[in-house]
């Protein structure tokens, strides 16, 4: 974990950007999330220390009650955004960090939720190298979420390499979709 975290922080910011989102993330995002294209946000978001939970956040049970009971439905609702990567990279892009910061806020507000982070790759490496690359991506996301105050023990990580592509064509329009860490809620 130390290795991945070091890489992350070397790649752009001197320290993790702590982000406290507003109360539990409001509208569910569309499930088939396109790669986030919003411009990286700058300092404006940094409002407090990362580990703080917004005052008045209810304990898990209350909030969890507002979530769909069925896990498949809960995942379809798209509370958690996927993280997208550049070719051959497991470094977090700025737009990826932004999406993950929102995920971290939501996860802090829903402390009973457990998540499997799946690392995925496009088809432009060999099967075995992509397994290793997907593993690195999944763990990079886990480490970043942990750095934002989410207990790492709530995450499981797995790599699917290039074996479970989201988009099926053979050009960048699909490859950019397939280079991702996909977050799946496994317990609410």
């Amino acid at each position: 974990m130390a290795v991945a975290a070091t890489l992350l922080f070397a790649a752009g910011c001197s320290k993790p950007k702590p982000v406290i989102a507003p109360e539990p993330v409001a509208a569910p995002a569309p499930t088939t999330a396109a790669p986030a294209t919003t411009a990286p946000d700058a300092a404006g978001e940094v409002r407090s220390e990362p580990a703080l939970i917004p005052a008045g956040t209810p304990e898990s049970g209350v909030l969890a009650g507002e979530l769909p009971a069925d896990l498949a439905e809960l995942n379809r609702a798209g509370y958690l955004k996927d993280a997208f990567f550049d070719t051959n990279k497991a470094d977090l892009r700025d737009d990826t960090r932004e999406a993950l910061a929102a995920n971290a806020a939501w996860l802090r507000a829903h402390p009973s939720v457990r998540v499997t982070i799946e690392g995925h790759c496009d088809e432009r490496n060999t099967t075995e190298f992509n397994l290793a690359l997907g593993w690195r991506r999944a763990n990079a996301v886990r480490d970043y979420l942990a750095s934002l105050g989410v207990d790492a023990a709530r995450f499981a990580t797995i790599s699917y390499g290039e074996e479970r592509p989201f988009a099926q064509c053979h050009d960048e329009s699909c490859w950019s979709q397939n280079r991702r860490a996909h977050l799946v809620i496994t317990a609410r």
Partner: protein, 432 residues
């Protein structure tokens, strides 16, 4: 595969008759087309009285097909064979007639028997010296006549190359033809495909133990990737490495007692070695980069592997203890999937040329590199057990299929159903 260069074997030494073959030097090399092959006359084996005609036909057609596919032998065409008048009373004269039509060696033999007592007797004449270079008697049930022919063809190739031919060999591979990626096995020419796993999950990256007794591979059977050891003859399977990480790309040590693989928790994938006797797992590489695809050298002293320590994936080699790491590929934008030829000198791997995967062959002594380009993407090379042919996966037709090069480097598909990938070749399966 178009033949920019081809992979071939040249037996520079013809065999002095009468000498022990084991002492003969044999030279293997990558060469351009125009290889010199030994011309061998192999008229159909004659039946003795009572020989099973079905077994005889199966034996002769199998032997001819095998000998046509060797890299070292050129079969004398049938029309030339027909020119030779056999004089049973004058062997010397007959030999001269064989030489006159261009043969350097003559393979002649008989088959006899039926049922459980099918017997083949073969003799190879060195037509230059006039001496018997090899003789063999093989017995089996008549139903196994093709296996007898394969065995004979293997031994003939062994005479000229020092390594047995591929004719009893099997190729394990990954296929999605059943709906999920499973491990399959087939004959080296694509015959008799047989499904070995039914995990209905993802099974990838098979590797044979040297004796063909075990297959190691990665399966998501338990929900996450773990390395399993399968004994195909018994259907028996057990996990070998199932900790966090990818547990992928196994390679057996030549003594069959250890398996190198890629594994590691916390995102970092390294080369580790697992003992089959339960001796635990030893880490060979470390650091921040991804290390994967270990390939144990034939003499057991080195392990080639892929690392992105210098940026894009490249092939490195280290001593089997994990020391003395050095980079092997310098001319490639990408290099992965190293596969040692049995000579321990040539290393086939997957490179990237003009945006497409292609197979490259590196001479690790000289650093000379040859790209064997073909249409589409070509990846996951592996050598035939005799080092004269390559199998690989290509998507040149739109689906991914397995191809085998013939001795001149021309590739032909040996699969056509579903998508098939990651071929690995073994000399022979153990007897059941």
């Amino acid at each position: 595969m178009t033949t920019r260069t081809s992979i071939a074997v040249v037996a520079l030494f013809l065999l002095p008759a009468g000498a022990g073959f084991a002492q003969n030097e044999v030279y293997l090399q990558v060469t351009t087309p125009g290889l010199q092959r030994v011309v061998i006359a192999a008229p159909a084996f004659a039946p003795r009285p009572g020989a099973d005609p079905t077994a005889l036909a199966a034996f002769n057609s199998t032997l001819t097909r095998d000998l046509e596919q060797t890299a070292v032998l050129a079969l004398l065409p049938a029309d030339r064979i027909a020119l030779v008048e056999i004089d049973p009373k004058n062997a010397n004269l007959t030999r001269q007639r064989w030489r006159a039509v261009g043969a350097q060696f003559l393979l002649e033999g008989t088959v006899a028997g039926a049922g459980s007592q099918f017997v083949c007797e073969a003799r190879l004449w060195d037509l230059v010296s006039g001496e018997v270079a090899y003789s063999r008697r093989l017995q089996s049930p008549a139903t196994l006549a093709p296996t007898v022919a394969h065995t004979l063809a293997n031994e003939l190739v062994n005479l000229f190359t020092g390594r047995p031919g591929p004719f009893l060999s099997r190729i394990a591979f990954v296929s999605d033809r059943s709906g999920a990626k499973e491990i399959w096995v087939m004959r080296w020419d694509g015959g008799e495909p047989q499904q070995l796993t039914s995990h209905r999950s993802i099974a990838v990256g098979p590797a044979w133990s040297p004796d063909g007794l075990y297959l190691a591979f990665t399966s998501f059977l338990a929900g996450r990737p773990a390395l399993y050891l399968l004994k195909p003859t018994e259907g028996y399977m057990r996990p070998l490495s199932e900790g966090p990480g990818v547990n992928s790309s196994p390679s057996f040590s030549p003594d069959g007692r250890r398996v190198a693989l890629a594994a590691g928790a916390d995102g970092n994938t390294d080369i580790v070695v697992a003992s089959l006797d339960g001796g635990g797992i030893e880490r060979l590489s470390s650091g921040r980069s991804i290390e994967t695809q270990p390939a144990w050298s034939p003499n057991g002293r080195q392990i080639a592997f892929t690392s992105n320590a210098t940026g894009a994936p490249q092939i490195f080699v280290m001593d089997a203890e994990g020391t003395n790491v050095r980079r092997l590929t310098f001319e490639d934008r990408f290099a992965d999937e190293a596969a040692w030829a049995p000579d321990g000198i040539r290393l086939a791997y997957t490179t990237l040329v003009e945006g497409r995967f292609q197979i490259a062959i590196l001479d690790v002594r000289t650093g000379a590199r040859t790209v064997v380009a073909g249409p589409g993407n070509n990846e996951s090379p592996c050598w035939s057990p005799d080092g004269t042919m390559l199998a690989f996966a290509s998507n040149r037709t739109g689906t991914k299929q397995i191809y085998v090069t013939d001795p001149t480097g021309v590739a032909r598909a040996i699969t056509d159903t579903g998508n098939n990938s990651q071929p690995v070749w073994v000399a022979q399966l153990p007897a059941r």
